[in-house]
Amino acid sequence: MIGPDLRVEGFDVTSWRHLVGLFMPNLEERMDRDAHESDDPAPPDPTEGQGGTLVVIDDPDRVILAARHSFDGAIPALIGESSSQDLRGLCASHGAMRVVVIRAGAMDELSDALAEGLAQEPESHRHGYIAQWLVLLRAVRQMMEVGDLRVWPNPVANVPLPSARMAQRALDAVLPDGKALLAALFDRGRPYTSLVIRRRNGLIDLVAGPDLLTQWTGPLGGDWRRDHRVFTRAVERNVAPVHLGLFAEVSAVREALRSGEPGEWARQVAVRDVIFNPMPMSVKLALGADAVRGISHVSSGLLGGVDLWKAAGPIVSRVRSRWTEIQSVSDELGFDPLVVLAALMRRDEPDLESDEH
């Protein structure tokens, strides 16, 4: 899904860090933390607390050849011991959160399996880098099945690997071919970072940052809540029709990404700290459901524990069952959940002039 001619451009160091930081919340902290000193023979400061990963390498007879804790360094005491023991116990006895046991030589065999898999699946070249990774992940899964790689706890024990076709279908839903995604984030009104992704001929071929977006838009008014239409039109002119545009205060996005609270996204949209323009049906549905959950959550408190979420359940089920044919969440529910939520939050009249949804 990632094209061989992919262009990634238009980011300065700040806008890139801001973008990556959204998805790696502890990025700044991690970057500032002292690395394990590469020429320090002493183990690092253990005050980082319990946790970390125990990596054990054994031979085909399950004799441990090397063991290393990500915080404490090498563990000579394990050399020569058997790795056939209970991995949970091994983890606990060394204060690790997880343990990975790899048979010596297995990584080389994995590389061969990748070469073999790519040779057998030439269509993967059409699907690009992600499909190539799926070939590699299938080889990893096979390694796990034969015990050459053992992980505890195993985070993917019962998770099926998607096929390249499934991955492609998922991408089709998020970013149809010939379309672009646009996200522009602001920090108290000032540009924070932005991102344009284009898909062409089935493959993602452009990831553009603020430098290019600014070039395409030209001078702006300075109020992103009004300027967002200019952004969208500029991308339509220079890149591709926009499938989804997201404009937001970065604090709102952070809160929505990290908050488990029902209705958080819908609330941010309602108070116009997040604007979707255009908003594809899938996002409308997701927001609608989120809003209903949010209303239920709030009203449950106001109504002494009466859970409107349960009451709304049948409606939501209907939405889900008919999501391909409905035209808007509002039509289906009989009310606009975002407007209602906004009113609930602001305790004033709904803003019927809103054109964001």
């Binding site: 061989p4 160091v13 002292d34 023979p41 090397a66 020569g80 070469a115 880098y129």
Partner: protein, 666 residues
């Protein structure tokens, strides 16, 4: 043979009939930018204070289809000649890197698709399969460094690109420096048994065995087996096969070390051959360089050997500020081993698919490396481009705010003639190549190689077996740990030191008064002989913790005692020895301060010129620095001035380095 028109003198270039050109440049990729923005980019780059522009010349871009060449005839972005001429018009010299491998985050690392997909040119794994590189945006089979078919195609590329470059070499043009290939090292697929088992590589392997051991019989004896023909003398496919319990079978370790040395030699050979092809193409009038990637201590690239086939070998730097010790160690190794520390790539920004680096990281890396002896660099990238973020100048040639810091740094380096200064060190720590090779072979994580682990912030021995393999200790781990212990103790004592590769030219060894060389049960007799030569030249050599009794074929050998012995594995003894050395050799400890603050002095014949003060920690400190005389110190980046009679007190923010120019107080 072409007469040289540009000489490499110290850390600068000396083109005939022209002034000195310090080895400082900034990278700009012409084919990735609109020609309309070239001039603005070049001007902004020059305004940043560098005398040279650097660019790759990507084979893939200029030959998109077999035999279809485009150097601007069709696509104006590909007009390398016009770009170089424009740089000359703007008063910039040029440093060009025509690959053939350039990486540059290009798909297939800049090689044409028809090259990487040609089975005859592909490197092979032990099972004969192609060797796949995982990098985005497309995994691909890497070429074989030994493939004759590949090298023939490379020769054709050099002929073509030379048609553009040759008429632009100094003095006719502004090209004063060329690079041969890029970051040699099996394309990051450099685990000990990843590659290369290509049939042309196996021919080289047999020749290597013959040159090392002599006859087939002698090779058989060394490997503890009986080869009937040379075709039987196959390279090892893994380490464990000949190891039973703690005891390797006779000959197993010799075979492994032969393979490790061969992998180094193959890389040197291909760089030598490519350099020859470039000379044959008429490009030999200017110096050739090569750059070694991150993780060089775990890599098969042999820096001293590469230094014999090109004029200068440098290291590439991409580090977060928290990797202070790694930056320091790499620079001390480069300075100690080559005597001319140069960074063909000093990261300004980074590719989007690696750990994000900030401007502070880039600046800290530059200053820390300069503090420990780096004399020149290429700012990579100076001008922004596709698949990169954080360049100092944007793709339309407008300086970003970060460019101000680079401009101030360049101005300071120029003003201080930093490329002519010297960081003196009396002590060298020897990196014994035989132990590095041994460690590589005992690495257990295959393609997650020693070099990769080191580049990711670990050490090249992190993935090694932990058992002793029949020796009195796990030598594959201890050599690194013992050197690290020494380095820490020297830093704590404020004694400047360097690392020197055991295969560095003898004059690099004799440039020091004291060499500390780890030794264990086995050692390379060649290294021992060189240590003796150093001793004869007046250098004091200290070995330990063990006296070797076996050579690198693991047979009994005579090692006449060299110098003195020290238990490098005993921290107390190491610290005591360093204090004794300070007294005994009157070791200089210039501008001492208290850890964790570090200082590093650079001087010339006129005296002390530049003092770096480094705070590698995450806390603020007040550095108290003892002065040999009343001094005025000016921070050349911030403009702050500090003055003292006996000492200086300097506030140090977290993870910051100050570049102070020194003057005697009136």
């Amino acid at each position: 043979m072409t007469e040289p028109t540009v000489a490499l003198e110290g850390a600068s270039l000396r083109p005939t009939g022209a002034g000195e050109v310090p080895l400082r440049s900034g990278a700009m990729h012409y084919w990735r930018l609109s020609p309309d923005s070239w001039r603005d980019g070049l001007r902004a780059l020059k305004a940043m204070g560098v005398p040279m522009v650097e660019t790759y010349a990507p084979w893939q871009v200029h030959e998109p289809e077999p035999g279809q060449w485009d150097f601007g005839q069709t696509d104006p972005r590909k007009d390398l000649g016009r770009f170089l001429d424009m740089a000359a018009e703007e008063g910039l010299q040029a440093f060009v890197r025509p690959g053939p491998h350039i990486n540059a985050e290009l798909t297939y690392f800049g090689l044409p698709a028809h090259i990487v997909h040609d089975p005859a040119m592909q490197a092979r794994s032990p099972s004969g399969r192609p060797v796949i590189l995982y990098f985005p945006p497309r995994m691909f089979p890497v070429p074989s460094h030994a493939s004759e078919a590949y090298l023939k195609a490379v020769g054709g590329w050099f002929e073509k690109v030379a048609e553009v470059l040759r008429p632009r070499l100094h003095p006719e043009g502004n090209v004063v420096l060329l690079q041969v290939d890029n970051e040699i090292g099996y394309y990051f697929r450099n685990g000990p048994f990843c590659q290369d088992y290509h049939e042309d590589a196996l021919v080289q392997w047999i020749a290597h065995l013959e040159a090392t051991h002599g006859s087939l019989e002698e090779t058989s004896a060394a490997h503890g087996t009986e080869y009937v023909t040379w075709a039987d003398a196959l390279p090892p496919k893994r380490f464990g096969e000949g190891v039973h319990g703690e005891e390797p079978k006779p000959g197993e370790l010799t075979l492994q070390l032969d393979w490790a040395r061969f992998q180094e030699q193959m890389l040197t050979t291909v760089i030598d051959r490519m350099a020859g092809q470039m000379r044959d193409a008429g490009l030999g009038a200017v110096p050739f360089i090569h750059n070694v990637s991150l993780g060089e201590q775990g890599l098969q690239a042999n820096v001293p050997a590469l230094g014999e086939v090109v004029d200068l070998v440098g290291l590439d730097y991409y580090h977060p500020a928290r990797e202070h010790r790694t930056i320091k160690r790499r620079t001390l190794y480069l300075d100690g081993t080559t005597g001319r520390a140069y960074a063909p790539e000093l990261g300004v920004g980074a590719p989007p698919w690696f750990t994000p680096l900030g401007h502070d990281d880039s600046l800290y890396t530059a200053l820390c490396a300069l503090a420990y002896g780096l004399r020149g660099f290429n700012l990579y990238m100076a001008v922004d481009r596709d698949r990169w973020y954080g360049a100092a100048i944007d793709s339309r040639g407008r300086a970003r705010p970060e460019a101000d810091d680079w401009m101030r740094l360049n101005e300071a380096l120029e003003d201080l003639a930093f490329h002519r200064l010297e960081r003196k060190a009396d002590v060298a720590l020897m990196i014994p190549r035989e132990y590095a090779r041994y460690a590589r072979q005992t690495h257990l994580l295959g393609p997650l190689s020693p070099s990769s682990l080191e580049a990711l912030g670990g050490t090249p021995v992190d993935g090694c077996r932990g058992d002793s393999l029949g020796f009195d200790r796990p030598i594959q781990l201890r050599w690194w740990q013992d050197l690290a212990r020494l380095a820490q103790a020297l830093t704590a004592a404020g004694v400047p030191y360097r690392y020197v590769d055991s295969e560095a030219p003898l004059d690099r060894l004799t440039a020091h008064r004291l060499i500390v060389a780890p030794s264990y049960t086995f050692a390379a007799t060649e290294r021992w002989a060189r240590l003796r030569e150093a001793t004869d030249a007046g250098v004091t050599v200290v070995t330990g913790p063990s006296a070797p009794t076996l050579d690198t074929t693991f047979r009994e050998a005579t090692f006449e005692p060299v110098g003195e012995r020290l238990s490098l594995d005993d921290e107390v003894q190491v610290q005591a020895a360093i204090h004794a050395w300070v007294e005994r050799f009157s070791l200089r400890r210039p501008y001492p301060t208290r850890p964790p603050i570090e200082t590093s002095l650079h001087e010339d014949e006129s005296g002390d010129r530049v003092l770096f003060v480094l705070n590698p920690t995450q806390e603020s400190h007040r550095a108290e620095i003892a002065l040999p005389r009343p001094t005025v110190a000016t921070d050349r980046l911030s403009g702050e001035v500090f003055e003292g009679t006996d000492s200086l007190t300097i506030p140090m923010r977290p993870q910051r380095t100050r570049l102070l120019s020194l003057e005697a107080a009136q």
